[in-house]
Structures are given as structure tokens and as C-alpha cells.
Amino acid sequence: MSQRFSKNLSDKDGVMKIGDSDEADLVSRLVRGDEDAFATTVKENAGWMLNLARRFTNCDADAADCVQESFAILFKKIGEFQGRSKLKTWLHRVVVNQALMKIRKKTNLREQSLDQYLPEFDRNGLRIGPVRISDESVESLISNKEIAMKVRLAIAELPDIFRVILILRDLEGYSTAETAELLEIEEGAVRTRLHRARHALRKILEPTLGAKYLGDIL
């Protein structure tokens, strides 16, 4: 499901290959304290890092802090950087960690609930409607700028713990085990909350999907 997004993470333990010689060159310049190399690295990466941090923190100032702190860590630890992972993959992890620290400082991640979005069942365990479905493709839905913005807002409006788990698992391609480790919670708790987050997103977005009630199309 999230293959496209795990691709850039899958090489996190990979050894550097010949094609990475440009990066090896950049890293050795960084280690030597080459100012141009610093500038290049910041210019090339600050944009996506800021995007990523903003997705997690929902706050421009916090996101900027995360990026700044991540580069501070990079510059401090560049001497230890052995090229065992790609620079970008390494930075990705650092930004995620910084963002999680920021969120933890602000909220108690444990005390949040999304029960109101869960599906309902009758006393026989049968689903209570309405259930809506939409035949429109994801591409065509998203090409509508208004819908795309609603998706962003729906994700942004999730309570912190649910948003963070949804981003890590479904958007950034981390596994359940990795997510549990990052958040220092049980894997079961990741799954339960992920399930709730997805259902909340579904409930919030359903009206914008141009969906029909199931009963109307049977």
C-alpha cells in the first residue's frame, strides 16, 4: 500500500554504491568543513525537511526549529557519518525524531481518543449504515485542488498521536514495529490507533468524495 513511500527508506541499511560517489564527495567536503558544501546541503534539503516537519508538528515555527536542529545535529555528527546510509535517509530520521520530540513536549500523546469516528454495529455485530462508496479514481479526486486541500486539513486536524501514527505508517512508509519503537509504545497500540486514525479520515472525507450511499447503488 505504501510501497511508493517506503522505497526511499528501504536503503537505510544499504552500503553506499558506486553511483553514490557524488554524495561521498559531498560528505567528505562536509567533514573537512567546506562552507560551500554546507550551503549546498542546506539549500537542497531544507525544503523537503521543512515540509516533513510541518506535516508532523502542524506549526511553521516548530517545523523551522526542527529543521534547524536537524542540521545542527548533522554538522556536529558529520565526522561520525560513515556513509552506511544515504545522507537524505539519515536526515529524514533526524527530522522525524526532532518533530516527535517537539510534539511530546506539547501534548500528552497517551490521552487522546477518536472513538466517535469508529464504525457502529447493531447488537448482532452487524454494521449500521450509512456506508458510502465512490467510483472516482484517487488521481481524479486529488486533481481537484479543493479536495486535495480537504485531505491535508483532515490529516492536520487529527489529534497528535493519531496524526503522527498515520503519517509514519501510511505516509512515510515506516513499519508498525519501527513506528512503535520511535514512539516508545506497544505495536498493538500503534495498530489500534492507526485503525482509528484511518477511520476518522474516512469519516471526515467521505462527504467530499462525491460518494453515493451503498443503498442507492445496490
Binding site: 554546507f38 542546506v42 525544503g47 554538522f75 452487524l126 495498530r191 492507526l194
Partner: protein, 125 residues
Amino acid sequence: MPEPKKPSIFRKLFRSLLRSPITRPVIQRMGGSMLRHMPGQITCRQFEDFLVDYLEDRLTAEQKKLFQRHMKVCPMCRASLHSYLKVIEMGQAVCAEDDKDHVFDAAPQELIDAIIDVARKNKPK
């Protein structure tokens, strides 16, 4: 145990009963207690409980069979799963778009300058 092929006339009747606001609740209630008491069938609630594990391929072979069988017979759960997955895909599509186009503008110049400045002051000796 393979699912027996149902005659399409039965399916048509079933659908029309499910479509009518009068018979629908009755059918649902009957269906619900049937599912609850029938061996080899799970309820919609159990289907939901299995869902995340199904998607992570963590169900036992037996549970997987139950899950897939319920999906075959229950249009409500099918539809629910469909939109559940679709919304995830929409989130992924929007994020991919944002990362590609920097819909939210790239880092402001002041931030870049500040970071480079800090790096210059702290550069390795």
C-alpha cells in the same frame, strides 16, 4: 470449504430486499444473527477487528479465510473497506504531490541563511 455459487436470482432478490427501507432493517437483523450463530461466518464487528491485521498479513490462515468469506457476502463491509483504503491512498497522493511540487513553499531564505550561519560558526576544526 469453498463458497457455494449462489444463483443470481437469489442475489437479485437479496439486493432488492436490502434496497427497500422497509425490509432492509429486517434483513440486516436476520443476517446479523445468522452470521453470529453460523459456524464459519464472522460478524461485521469481527471483520473490523481483523482488518488491520489482515492488511499487515498477520491473520492465521483460518482467520484470513473467515475475513475473506465475510467480505464476499457483506456489501457493507466491502464498501467500508473500499473507502478506508481509498482515503489512505488519497493521503499518500496528496503528500507525494506536496513533496514533489513544494506546494507549501520551500524553506524561506532567512531560515536557510540562519542554518548556514550556525554551521559556519560550528564547523569542524
